[in-house]
């Protein structure tokens, strides 16, 4: 049946999240893997896994905006900062429970995102990129200088939150809420694009004038895209804030670029791509670090030049993906699947 492709005879089957039995099996395998990982990983790789979980949430958020709606954002770092500071300060200053603080941070970041999305109503492409670049600098400036609210350049350490009677301390206990949030973000992301809202967003990306002729309210959906995306990013930011200490240095322009790299390497306009890209971009520097440590005896200069090596690899990966596989890891995965499905034929 599936050897020549997956066919749909009605809308119900097309809207289904998993079309084939193989997809169901792979999903369950992924679930088992996620559940088993914390018991087998070393502490170092467990902390990497946690960072990947947070990155997945942020990457899905950015992909909703940039990949699915076609609005470039270089301000991701700024929105992460909004989420982290809102949630952290609500706990530290007002003593709110962590869960409430995180939810409020998500809502507040979504509001800020919608506000910064207003220029997007008039600007496209590179103009929007530059406008969001400005928002990145402005947000970080405010964070650094509104000392009476944010403690300025000092870091804030949030007290360890308690969840269902467990104090969240250490990577093993953090793994569960982070991965839970990442799974939730994935489910929300996948389902968003089965709904009318999601289809409207993609219509805005593909041809905004045609979309508006079809009755898609551009103003509403662009602002909504900024708000939804920033909501995800706010969640990622809030989690970063509670997981580690909050400092403005963690939300600079390079973070915005890292997230853009995730969705480009993973695949624009693909939830699976966001996940793969987040895994790839977070693993890359850690992998190089482990490689440098393992060859320390033979090539000591590799360790000395590690930061430059990580930077160069990051740059080269972005360039190579854009030139040779602009649709990213998601497309590579698709092609690999096709290859085995059709084997021994080429097509």
């Amino acid at each position: 049946m599936t050897t020549t492709g997956v066919y749909h005879t009605n809308y119900r089957s097309e809207l289904r999240l998993r079309h084939t039995r193989a997809e169901q099996v792979r999903l369950w395998m992924a679930v088992v893997l996620v559940l088993l990982l914390p018991f087998v990983l070393s502490p170092f790789w467990l902390s990497v896994a946690n960072r990947i979980g947070i990155a997945i949430i942020g990457a899905i958020g950015l992909n909703i905006l940039t990949g699915f709606t076609g609005q470039i954002s270089l301000g991701q770092g700024g929105f992460l900062a909004v989420g982290a500071y809102t949630s952290g300060l609500l706990v530290v200053r007002l003593g709110l429970p962590t869960l409430v603080a995180i939810l409020l941070a998500v809502a507040f970041t979504a509001m800020v995102g919608a506000l910064f999305g207003i220029p997007a109503l008039r600007l496209k492409g590179l103009y929007l990129a530059i406008a969001t670049l400005a928002s990145q600098f402005i947000i970080i400036y405010l964070v650094r200088n509104w000392e009476f609210i944010t403690q300025g350049r000092d870091s804030i350490s949030v007290p360890r939150p308690e969840l269902f009677g467990f104090v969240l301390i250490g990577d093993f206990r953090w793994y569960w809420p982070i991965m839970g949030s990442a799974v939730l973000a994935t489910i929300l992301g996948r389902n968003l694009f089965r709904s009318g809202i999601g289809r409207a967003l993609m219509a805005v990306r593909d041809q905004d004038i045609a979309a508006s002729a079809l009755g898609v309210n551009l103003t509403k959906y662009k602002v909504m895209s900024f708000a939804i995306s920033s909501g995800f990013v706010g969640l990622a930011g809030a989690l970063t804030g509670h997981y580690r200490i909050i400092t403005w240095e963690r939300f600079g322009l390079n973070v915005s670029i890292e997230y853009l790299a995730m969705i480009i390497v993973g695949g624009l306009g693909s939830i699976l791509g966001s996940i793969l890209g987040a895994i790839f971009i977070v693993l890359l520097p850690s992998g190089l670090e482990q490689f440098a440590i393992s060859v320390r005896g033979v090539f000591p200069q590799v360790t000395a030049q590690l930061p430059a090596l990580q930077l160069a690899t990051f740059g080269i990966v972005i360039i190579l993906f854009l030139i040779f596989e602009p649709r990213g890891l998601a497309r590579m995965w698709q092609r690999t699947k096709d290859y085995f499905r059709l084997w021994p034929f080429r097509y």
Partner: protein, 290 residues
Amino acid sequence: MQTFIQLTVSGLANGAILALAAVGFAIIFKATGVINFAQGSFMAVGAYMVYTAIADFGWPWPVALVFAAAVAIAVGLGTERFILRPMVGESAISVIMVTIGLAFFLEAALQFQFGTRPLRMAPFIPEGTVQILGVPLPMNRLVAIGLAALVLGAVGAFFRFSRNGIAMRAVADDQQAALTMGISVRRIFAMAWGIAAVTAMLAGVLVANIQGVSGNVALFGLLVFPVVILGGLDSIGGTIVGGLIVGLLIQYTAGYLGGGLQQVIPYILLVFILMVRPYGLFGEVRIERV
């Protein structure tokens, strides 16, 4: 009054350097439609090349400048041929990201070779101060203003009078028409990247001469965005006016208001301009509205 004059001269010097960096950016955008986020890295490459030619090879500074220009042209042409030509026809975000990737790569290459410690540029521009109207003014800033004016004038004359300059304007205006007139668009693209790389190199050297050779030269390059948006993305004259306005604004803010506000004031101006006049002061009114 003395403070005012000093701030004005520093502002004009920074503005002239910014204009120099931004003019290359504008040339690339006008001729090829590419937003080059690696412009700051081109500046840093230029600064490091002049540094290494003077300090490590012991060459006199005119030779060092020629050497740096040669490297800059090689980097510019290489970028055009191997990185941006395969990207023709891709979406804006892909083109932006590929130049960002290039910026990271160049930064890393410089780190490999020179480390991250800031280096002091061999002073080939006379140091010391001169008294003008009874106000002591640093010599290197005055020279920077003069040099930038000279180069910008040369670029302007190139576009106005030379055969290649006119061909480049023709390509910017209408690629198809230029092709039918027998202009090689590929050569024009290569030329645009070459000129942009050389002007960026000069800007980088001037920045490095004032604040030392380090990765911060590339950060200075981020300020080209407010400059080009203010002046109009496709206007050469606009980048000069934009550069001077942004340079003065930063210095006056630093001198009279302080508090780090000078770091964001260009971006606040940028957002304001995008809201009221997205095509800038002198840009062509061609922006697509939705």
